[in-house]
Symmetry: C4
Subunit: 129 residues, 4 copies
């Protein structure tokens, strides 16, 4: 094995669950209720990602344009997206990601609406390549 | 990359875990203990889904007939299914989904039986196509 | 689509995480800290499953012999396994499942050691067929 | 079916989420906030694993060299890695694993920063072989 990690990942990913809890307990930003998508780009080139956000009763939002450097990871909060529009709180949504290089994407929610925070995570669903 | 998200998803999905906690703490519907299956339909056609629910000691229930619009997401609670029959609380079950267009399905439980809610999620298991 | 759900599943599955918390709060059996593996058998034949449990510093335990009826689901607790031997509490383990028909397996832990229970789940890792 | 479990697993795995909570409540080591990667090696040969850890704004750390015995499981905490360098707390990271034999890897976090711990888990993302 070389000391260079292998290229692993896919160019398309989807997350079907999406819901930013409407309020929070505890100090922010750590305990601000949020949903994150964590992107790992193990490749030697910068990754350019287009994110489309789907809703129950309106046309999708986006594309949001995101960049993750070569051999870097970046953990984005859906809460912090603003361009072209913010994601509303306490609303069901879902997301599809397209990258120009293979990446790995994982979904995490921290819910601090009650006194002790709850967490959940899952690997996103990978497209065929 | 175009601004149209790619088609991603599968026509068959399964969730082996299923259990709606028997009671709740906190204001509903947010803190009503529930299990959800979130469906993302990124395709340009409406998705028609048949859900079959399996139990430990009786024949399966269903099919339940569900619809998710083109380029929409819909987060269903197992608690709210009624036709052909409701899912009993505090009972082990599992589920298989068949869709006529590729979709992505994710499983989530919120358990508020104790003072602070617990969450868990996983991508459902995809069939071969 | 017919009203018979399609055959979905694999004959081999693995779970790398395994740890039954050593104590519990709240009424049992619901709030007994536990780890479960939920098996869905959507096929028309009974499934016969062999489970092998791996440890950090001793040879594997098993095989445990399990049966899940045709078109049934069964949620097993690792806590309740006894034959050929029980799984010790507060000990790291992992598991491999072999079934004679395709099934779907999901892993869940409920940890009630502190005042409000925590949950986690993931689909198990499927073998190639 | 023989009593020997089949070989299941992959040689490359990735986890995109990574964050060790910065503080803890409750007795350690059980309730020390931590992230773990659980490795199952069902094969008849010892597994030698190289781990590379990625960050947002610096070059990757590693490789970390890990060994898991034949037909054994080992649950590692990112918190306890020291060679070539420790993983900082409260910092976003991601990880890629390369093994010389097929293994299965699962990701788990225990967050005990508030009064009742939270848990999350997911199977890591497998490479093509």
């Amino acid at each position: 094995m070389s000391s260079t990690p292998p290229i692993i990942g896919r160019k398309t990913w989807a997350i079907a669950e999406g819901y930013i809890p409407g309020w929070s307990n505890g100090p922010g930003p750590e305990f601000t209720s949020h949903e994150a998508f964590c992107v790992l780009n193990p490749a030697a080139q910068e990754a350019h990602i287009q994110l489309t956000v789907f809703f129950a009763d309106r046309d999708p939002a986006g594309p949001y344009h995101l960049t993750v450097g070569a051999r870097r990871t970046k953990h984005f909060r859906f809460n912090n997206l603003t361009d072209p529009e913010p994601i509303p709180l306490a609303t069901s949504y879902a997301s599809v990601f397209e990258s120009d290089v293979p990446v790995v994407i994982q979904h995490t929610r921290l819910d601090s609406r009650q006194a002790a925070n709850a967490l959940m995570t899952t690997m996103a669903f990978p497209g065929p390549e």
